[in-house]
Structures are given as structure tokens and as C-alpha cells.
């Protein structure tokens, strides 16, 4: 029935179930990959041991094991961001992701940005909305894959490639998922996560991707510290800028809340544990009362931390680090609200990655473990061929095989997603989620004697040897019927050459506007007059039309108060022998482009099934 609300809830059980099924299927593939990794590793290890025993009766070539440890800062970044990527991948597996990501994350993130950013992000939102199973499943495995890759490949080319993969995917997420971290939108502030959490992942990935010699001295640490320092000072300037609402709390309930207070009040409404909500609420109250003081503290703290890091002096950087990490943690809990609550949280937001980068820059200055003495042999030694290293070095063999496995996991998500992204039609699961699956049946179809939009008589006999879709449409319906008409038209387009064997028939479902001119007007309004296999039927009289309604079980009822009439939304797919083979609910649900496309695909698929019947 029109307007009675069949919007798709983000936790729609059909979609959630399909998503979990897809994750389980892909998870089985991942298990196979892990099994193959284990087998490959065992084969490789057995060969190494055999070679070693045949050569000298001892273990594998100890010289193949690098004597120098991985730089502490690099290891910190690699392990922590590896874990974070895995955590983010797990978050992508939340039930709300398939239907919630586009409307609740991607579009709001871009809403305040310039139009070109919105266009860019709309493209991503469209892909996600059209493929609500493939897209989140891809995100799960890509992120888990990158995380594992970072963890299992501590050194060498594989490790650097993992960093670069992190940069690549991070940029995709930053641009399309975070709308460039909101840097083009008003209200940009470090407190809310500027310049975007995933850009920090990219920074970490880029550092991991640097040549290992970059970590040999304190230079990289100094550069990193100065970059962080400059960033913090820039953010302090931004925070201090007047007229942006940050100096303002909310002195009275009637007064307009300041930017931070307003944000905090929203965050407190996010579904989360009571304790956390009470902390955020309490801080919102504190900021409302002391908005100027809170902002003054933040500005001073950011500037001081920035100055300390800009100096690149270990002692000052250490002081800045302590203050920076404390500020990050406070902001993470009290402002960012941990970042991942609410069902569609995709990451722990920016403060944890920010703190990790601060720590890494300090460690890179103070613990550049590879001294000039230890690096000399590596730099000077001839590079061994990878096959030789694979044979000789257990760790190299392991990280190579494991990294290949991680790449395989990434491909488990990326490959179906790439195929889905090239498909301009939406997944039929959306139609199924809104209306249920088409019901297979087999009974004689009702007959009728009506006239079409041009006044010509139409009976089942005039539709012989065709698959006929019979549905009902109110010719002055303002929402559902135009949507249904559009998806019938789109389904017709999907049939290609088969459309010659198909007739789309609608019966008018309005008791007042039964003259053919209304049907023709509806056709014109919806562009249906170009469909050669489209018939819109009405009665020569209301009683004749009502007879057809009864035959097909269409319920039509006038509603009070200026509403459109209540009418059935159902379609019968009738085979050439005039037997009903499928009954479909045609309620177009929320009427988005994605659901429209999905309904068209579902309708075309059902028609093809009937066309294929003997």
C-alpha cells in the first residue's frame, strides 16, 4: 500500500543475513588461503632444513637472519597500524554497515563540503548503496588483509609494499569515505579529527614504505617532529580564530550552543555505554559553562605541543609527547567519544593514530637503533637473489609466504568489489529486503476486458504468446506509482531482445480518474509512451474497472484528509499460457536510485525465469 512506509532499516534482517553469509563464504576462502600459506611455509621450511642438513648438518644459514633489529619507531608504526587496520576491518563487519554506511557516514561526511567533494563522495556512496553486500565485505577483507600484511612482514620489500598498500587504501577511504577528512568544510578543528584519521594511516604507511636506510639516523625523526609541530601550531591558529564558535559555550539553555558544545551534545546521544555517555555529557556541560576557558586551554596546549615538536630537541619533544598523548587521549574519550560507537563507526578516529605518530617521531629521534656500524654491512653487502634468500632464510620465507597470503585476503574483498563497481545495476538484495522474494506459483490468471490508454480494447487474448506482467497503478498517485512505473521501464530496458516477448500491463487503481486521458498523462509524465510493450488499462465504466480489481485482488480505497487513495502494490508475472508463475510485491520501498535499480533487476530476473520455462 502506498506511503505506508517500507523504508529499509539499517539492520534489515535480509540484508544483514546476506552480508553475514557473504562474510562467511569469503571467510572460508580466507581460511583456504591461510591453509595454503601454512602448507607453503611448511614446504619451504622443510626444503630449508633439508638443504641445511645436506650442506653442513646444522640449521639454516644464520647469516641470512638480519643481525640488526627493526627500528623501534618503525616497528611501533607497523605493528600498531597493522592492529588498527584489522580493528577497522572488524568494524566494517558490523551489521549496520551495508545499509548505514552511505547515508549515515559517507553522505554526512561530505554534506558540509563544497559541491565537487559531494559529487566525488556521491559516486562512492552510489557504489556502496548499489552493492551493499560486496562493498562492506570488500572493506572488511581489504583492511584485515592490509593489517595482517603489516604485521607479518617486518622487513624488506614486502614490508615496504605493505606500507604503500596502506597509503593507497587509506587515500581511497580518506577521499571517498571521509570527504578529505572534512578539510574543505567549515568548522575544521583538530578536536573533531582534522585532517581525518585515515590520512594519519596514510602518513604511517608512507613512513613504513620508506627505504630502511631512512631510519638509520635521527634525521627522519627530526623531520617528522617538525612536521607534527607545524601541524599542531597550524591547528592552534585555526582553533584560536575568532568567529568560528569555539570560544563560545552555552551560557543558558536558550542561547545558541558553541561549536564544541553542540558537537559534544550530539556525541552524547550516540548509542554507547552509559559511563562513556555520562563522561561526554559531563564534559559538554563543562564546555557549555566554560567555553572560552576550554578553548583557551586547547589553543595553548596545541601551540605548546607544536612548539616542542618543532624544536626537534629530544627533551622538549619528550615533554611535548607527554602533553600531546595526554591531550589526544582526553580528546579521544571526551570529544571523539572513542570514535567507533553507534553501529557505523569505521575506526577509532584520529587521536590514537595521532598519538602513535607523536610517539613514533620521538622514538625515531632517540632510538634510531641502526647505527652507522650496524648498517654498513647491510648497505655494503651484495644483495642476494630472492630465490637464494627464500632457500636460506626462514624468516624471509615466512614473511614472503605470509605477505602473499595477506595480499590474497585483500583480493578476496577487492576482486568482487571491482566487478561489482563496474556493474551499473544494483544488487537485487535491496528489492528482496524491501518486498521479499518473488513468490513462485502456478494458477490460472484472471481475465479482463478493458481499454488501454488510447481507448483500444485489451483482453488476455490480445496478449497471447507473451509473458505478461500485470500490476496496478493509480494514475494520480504522487509517490509510489511513478516510482513503480520507472522501475518497470528500467526492467524493460534490462530485458534487451527478450522484451519483444514481454508485455507490461498496468490497471488503473483510481476510482475517479478513469478516463484514458489520465492514463496517457501519467505515461507522458513518466516517459512511458516510448515503451512499445506498455499498456495502461482502464474500464469503459467504473464498474468494469472494479470487476478487474476484484479479479486480480486489487484493493482500492479512498482515504480522508487529502491523501492519495490506498491501493494494492502487487504484480503478477503471467506465462504465455496465461498462468500466474510469480507474484511480486511492487512496493518501491524508500525510492532511492539504488532500490529503484534493484527492483528493476529483480523484476527482469523474474521475467527471465518465466521466459525460460518450458
Amino acid at each position: 500500500m502506498p506511503g505506508m512506509g517500507t523504508g529499509l532499516h539499517t539492520n534489515n534482517p535480509v540484508v544483514v543475513s546476506a552480508f553475514h553469509r557473504e562474510l562467511i563464504h569469503q571467510g572460508l576462502v580466507v581460511l583456504v588461503i591461510l591453509g595454503l600459506v601454512w602448507v607453503a611455509w611448511r614446504i619451504s621450511r622443510a626444503r630449508q632444513l633439508r638443504l641445511a642438513h645436506s650442506a653442513n648438518g646444522g640449521p639454516a644459514d644464520p647469516a641470512a637472519v638480519p643481525a640488526d633489529p627493526e627500528p623501534t619507531a618503525r616497528r611501533l608504526l607497523r605493528v600498531s597500524f597493522g592492529i588498527t587496520w584489522i580493528f577497522d576491518g572488524v568494524l566494517q563487519g558490523q551489521s549496520s554497515m551495508p545499509l548505514g554506511m552511505a547515508p549515515e557516514v559517507i553522505k554526512p561526511a561530505a554534506a558540509a563540503s563544497p559541491v565537487w567533494v559531494q559529487h566525488l563522495d556521491n559516486a562512492a556512496a552510489t557504489i556502496w548503496s548499489y552493492h551493499p553486500i560486496a562493498a562492506p565485505a570488500a572493506a572488511v577483507w581489504i583492511q584485515i588483509g592490509i593489517g595482517l600484511w603489516l604485521l607479518v612482514a617486518p622487513r624488506g620489500t614486502w614490508s615496504r609494499l605493505a606500507g604503500l598498500a596502506s597509503v593507497g587504501w587509506g587515500l581511497v577511504v580518506w577521499v571517498f569515505g571521509e570527504a578529505f577528512g572534512g578539510i574543505f568544510a567549515p568548522g575544521l578543528t583538530w578536536l573533531f579529527g582534522a585532517p581525518g584519521a585515515v590520512l594519519l594511516y596514510c602518513a604511517a604507511g608512507a613512513l613504513i614504505g620508506l627505504p630502511e636506510r631512512s631510519w638509520a639516523t635521527e634525521r627522519l625523526g627530526q623531520i617528522l617532529a617538525r612536521i607534527m609541530g607545524s601541524f599542531f601550531i597550524g591547528m592552534a591558529v585555526l582553533q584560536a580564530w575568532p568567529g568560528r564558535g569555539f570560544w563560545q559555550g552555552q551560557p543558558s539553555p536558550q542561547a545558541t550552543a558553541g561549536t564544541l558544545t553542540s558537537m559534544l551534545q550530539q556525541m552524547a546521544q550516540t548509542p554507547q555505554p552509559h559511563l562513556l555517555a555520562s563522561w561526554v555529557s559531563a564534559f559538554a556541560g563543562f564546555d557549555a559553562a566554560h567555553g572560552w576557558g576550554v578553548n583557551f586551554f586547547v589553543v595553548v596546549a596545541l601551540a605548546a605541543i607544536g612548539a616542542a615538536f618543532l624544536s626537534a630537541q629530544p627533551r622538549l619533544v619528550l615533554a611535548g609527547l607527554v602533553a600531546g598523548v595526554a591531550l589526544c587521549l582526553a580528546d579521544w574519550v571526551l570529544v571523539e567519544d572513542l570514535g567507533f560507537m553507534g553501529g557505523v563507526g569505521t575506526d577509532p578516529n584520529s587521536m590514537i593514530p595521532m598519538a602513535l605518530l607523536l610517539v613514533a617521531s620521538y622514538l625515531a629521534i632517540t632510538r634510531h637503533a641502526i647505527t652507522s656500524e650496524t648498517t654498513a654491512p647491510i648497505e655494503g653487502s651484495p644483495r642476494r637473489h630472492w630465490r637464494e634468500r627464500l632457500r636460506a632464510s626462514p624468516s624471509y620465507a615466512f614473511r614472503s609466504v605470509a605477505a602473499l597470503g595477506a595480499v590474497g585476503i585483500i583480493l578476496v574483498g577487492a576482486a568482487p568489489m571491482a566487478m561489482a563497481a563496474t556493474d551499473p545495476h544494483a544488487d537485487p538484495i535491496l528489492a528482496q529486503a524491501a518486498d521479499g522474494a518473488p513468490q513462485a506459483t502456478n494458477f490460472p490468471a484472471p481475465t479482463f476486458d478493458l481499454v488501454d490508454q488510447y481507448g483500444r480494447a485489451v483482453t488476455p487474448g490480445s496478449l497471447a504468446r507473451k509473458v505478461v506482467i500485470v500490476t496496478g497503478l493509480d494514475d494520480v498517485c504522487v509517490t509510489q506509482c511513478p516510482l513503480i512505473a520507472q522501475y518497470l521501464k528500467a526492467a524493460d530496458g534490462l530485458l534487451g531482445a527478450d522484451r519483444r516477448r514481454v508485455e507490461f500491463v498496468a490497471i488503473d487503481e483510481n476510482p475517479r480518474y478513469i478516463a484514458p486521458e489520465y492514463l496517457e498523462a501519467f505515461d507522458q509524465n513518466e516517459g512511458l509512451e516510448q515503451m512499445s510493450n506498455w499498456l495502461y488499462l482502464t474500464g469503459r465504466s467504473l464498474s468494469q474497472l472494479q470487476q478487474a480489481w476484484r479479479a486480480f485482488g486489487f484493493a482500492v480505497q479512498l482515504l480522508p484528509g487529502g491523501s492519495m487513495d490506498l491501493h494494492s502494490e502487487i504484480a503478477y508475472v503471467i506465462d504465455p499460457s496465461w498462468r500466474v508463475r510469480f507474484v511480486m510485491n511492487t512496493d518501491p520501498g524508500p525510492g532511492t536510485e539504488a532500490t529503484q535499480s534493484s527492483f528493476s533487476v529483480a523484476m527482469a530476473d523474474t521475467i527471465r525465469k518465466v521466459l525460460a520455462l518450458p
Partner: protein
């Protein structure tokens, strides 16, 4: 070979990077602080609300919006009727329209002339529907006939959102303004009987060309009416000091109406309404300047001599809530403020002045003036319509009826 990590290289570049980042932050700052909210306009709003009332010999008709008025998909226009000689209103919308009324209803009547009792209702398209059904009754809403606003094979025309976009003339003739087409302006259609048979009468482009000498340069067609058998079209003028009233005389479209006085010569004018009164015509004209809007009523019996009322000032804090005909040659104007207070002004005919009636109750959407002298204010609060009657004895408003309308919220939502 240069060591890229040498001290000098690093120092220079780190300074450059730092400077770049600061500049970048300042650049972002420009984005971040570049949003400002404009000051509220002080130009008075000459809105053209669809809420109004008209008279027929069988009784008074009115249309008002009800439901959630801040949400177009949950605002449903009602069609209310009070039979002559009675005091109670009833809602005829279900029997009359048989479709969603979110786009609004446009009423036209043949007036209170007992020999011609016809009410025509244009049901404006809304949401995804683009066609305009028209329904009509001659028996107080007992039975309805219906038509479609269509012309030259184009069946999905949209009736303009103006309270006076429909007009009835003698012999079943009717005029309708259809909204701006893709490659042109508004167009006036005329029907000579059947409500599904319409022909283009004149377009905004044609009038613009013809009216150039008068300097109006119409930018929208705003009202239609008949002066005797002559179709009259009202417009809003792009150029200040001009009046957009046009009639087809001897096969040519010409500007009619009086010259605007010196006090409004620098203001823009708009014809808000045209009402056929016997063989004459009444026009409600709005003019606006920077901080001042005024309403004037023009009367003519023959199109050559005109009488103009004194102006009714609309302050910057007020907006037009409703206007319509009273019995005889009168006009009412209902003004409102954001605070909810209302002001009701009436002018009874040529030679009279605007009279200030007692302020109607809050939320009054329109007022109906019956030929028998009764005056009702129709106040809307969500699904409740309260009828307030102006007491001739006490001079105040007394509640005479409460009508609960069963609105199906969400029924027009996708």
C-alpha cells in the same frame, strides 16, 4: 652522490615542509572561517498563499493547509464547505479530489450570482506527479465532474501555485495559468466548456513583447480573470513603476489599468488577484520597495475607468497569510507576524477605505465572508480546524466549531 638525508638537505626541507604546512593550515582556515550567515532580509514578503475562500450561491468554500506545515510531504490541503444559511463547515476533500493534495488546491468560483453556481478546483501536482486534475461541482459538492489541464497533446501541465491561477467566465469559459515551461515563461490556457479541453491563450513571452511599451517586462503571470467577456491576465513586473494588467482587446493584447501614482512609481508591482464581479473586475495589486510593501484594490466596471483604494501597508515584520473576495465588491487581506499575531483588513468597494476588523485568533489560515454577513476565521493546528465566528454583537471572535481531520501522515512519503 648526494645523501638525501644529509643534515643540510633535511634542515632546508623540513623548514620548507613546516612552512608549507603552516600555509596549508592557514589555507584551510580560509575554508574553515569562510562561512557567514546573511542578515535577514527586511524586504516585506508579498507571499501568494493558496489559502483562501470563495463564494457560490450554494455556500462558501475555503481551502487551508493542514498537518505538519513545515513538511511539504505531510501538509495536506483541505477543501471546506459551509452551505448557505448554515453555520457548520464540512470537509469535501475526500469526495472531491481522490488524490493527494500536498501541492495545494486552487479555487475558482462563478461568484455568488445565483444563476451560475459553479466551483472549480485545480489540484496542483506534487512530489513525483506532474499532471493537474481539475474537478468541478455545481451542486454544493454532492457530485463532481473532472477534467485535466492539458493542451496541444501535452497532458502533464502544472497549474501555477497562485491562489488566482484559475478563473471562470460566462458560458463555461475558464482560464488557467500553467507554470513556466522548460524553454519559456508561464502560459495562460483557456477552456471553452469541457475542463479537459484547453487551448493556449497567451504566454509570458508574448506579453513581454507586447508590453514592452508599457515598460512592465513581466517576469511571471500571477492572476487571471474576466472583464465581461474579455480575458484579463495579471503579471508581476520586472521594471519598477509599471502595472502588469493585460487584456485582449480587438485581437491584440494590451496593457490596461490606471497609471501608478507617484508614491509607488519606484516600486515593483504584482497583480495578486483578479475577481470577476458581474461585468466588472476587482484587482488586488501589491507593490514593494526596499522596506515597504503596500496592497491596493483596483475596481473597474468597464476597463476604461478605474478606482484605486488607498494603500494597505505591510510592514517588514508582517507577511500575507491569505486574501480573497468578500461578498459584493469587497476584498479581505489577512496579515500575520512570525510571533503569531494576525491582522484582518477589509475593504468593501470603490470609495471605501481599508477597515481594521478584530484580530483573528492565532493560526488563522483564512477567513470566509458569507453573503449573509457571517464572517468565519478558519484556524489550523495540525489536524484540528477551529472555526471562529465574528460576533456582530460583541465584536469579538467566538469559537463555533472544531473539526478533526483524519490526516494520513506519511502517505505521500516515498
Amino acid at each position: 652522490m648526494k645523501d638525501p638525508w644529509s643534515s643540510r638537505w633535511t634542515a632546508r626541507r623540513s623548514v620548507a615542509v613546516a612552512a608549507g604546512l603552516v600555509l596549508g593550515a592557514l589555507g584551510l582556515l580560509a575554508f574553515g572561517v569562510g562561512v557567514s550567515t546573511g542578515a535577514p532580509s527586511t524586504t516585506p514578503a508579498l507571499a501568494t498563499p493558496l489559502a483562501t475562500s470563495v463564494q457560490t450561491p450554494e455556500g462558501d468554500w475555503a481551502t487551508v493547509p493542514m498537518g505538519h506545515l513545515d513538511d511539504p510531504l505531510n501538509t495536506f490541503w483541505q477543501l471546506l464547505f459551509r452551505p448557505s444559511g448554515t453555520t457548520l463547515w464540512s470537509n469535501k476533500v475526500e469526495a472531491a479530489t481522490a488524490m493527494a493534495t500536498n501541492g495545494g488546491l486552487v479555487l475558482a468560483s462563478s461568484g455568488a450570482d445565483p444563476s451560475r453556481g459553479l466551483l472549480v478546483v485545480g489540484i496542483r501536482p506534487s512530489v513525483k506527479l506532474g499532471l493537474t486534475p481539475i474537478v468541478a461541482t455545481t451542486d454544493a459538492g454532492v457530485s463532481w465532474s473532472n477534467g485535466l489541464l492539458a493542451s496541444n497533446g501535452q497532458l502533464d501541465l502544472r497549474l501555477a501555485p497562485r491562489p488566482d491561477a484559475l478563473a471562470l467566465g460566462a458560458g463555461g469559459r475558464a482560464l488557467a495559468i500553467v507554470e513556466r515551461a522548460k524553454n519559456g515563461g508561464d502560459t495562460v490556457l483557456e477552456s471553452t466548456g469541457a475542463l479537459s479541453s484547453w487551448k493556449p491563450l497567451v504566454s509570458e513571452d508574448v506579453l513581454r513583447a507586447k508590453a514592452a511599451a508599457r515598460g512592465c517586462m513581466p517576469d511571471a503571470l500571477t492572476a487571471v480573470g474576466y472583464l465581461g467577456d474579455t480575458a484579463v491576465v495579471g503579471a508581476s513586473c520586472r521594471n519598477p513603476g509599471a502595472l502588469g494588467l493585460f487584456a485582449e482587446i480587438s485581437g491584440r493584447w494590451q496593457g490596461i489599468g490606471p497609471r501608478l501614482g507617484p508614491s509607488i512609481i519606484d516600486g515593483r508591482s504584482e497583480v495578486l488577484a483578479l475577481w470577476t464581479r458581474g461585468s466588472g473586475l476587482t484587482a488586488l495589486i501589491g507593490t514593494s520597495r526596499a522596506h515597504l510593501a503596500e496592497l491596493r484594490t483596483f475596481w473597474t466596471a468597464n476597463g476604461t475607468t478605474w478606482e484605486v483604494s488607498r494603500p494597505l501597508r505591510v510592514s517588514a515584520a508582517q507577511h500575507v497569510v491569505s486574501y480573497g473576495p468578500t461578498s459584493g465588491n469587497g476584498v479581505f487581506v489577512l496579515l500575520g507576524t512570525p510571533g503569531g499575531s494576525a491582522q484582518l483588513e477589509v475593504i468593501n468597494g470603490p470609495g471605501s477605505a481599508w477597515a481594521h476588523l478584530p484580530a483573528p485568533p492565532a493560526r488563522t489560515a483564512t477567513v470566509a465572508f458569507s453573503p449573509d454577513g457571517a464572517v468565519d476565521a478558519l484556524a489550523v493546528n495540525d489536524t484540528v480546524l477551529t472555526v471562529w465566528s465574528l460576533s456582530s454583537s460583541s465584536g469579538g471572535w467566538t469559537r463555533s466549531q472544531v473539526l478533526h481531520v483524519a490526516i494520513q501522515f506519511g502517505s505521500s512519503n516515498p
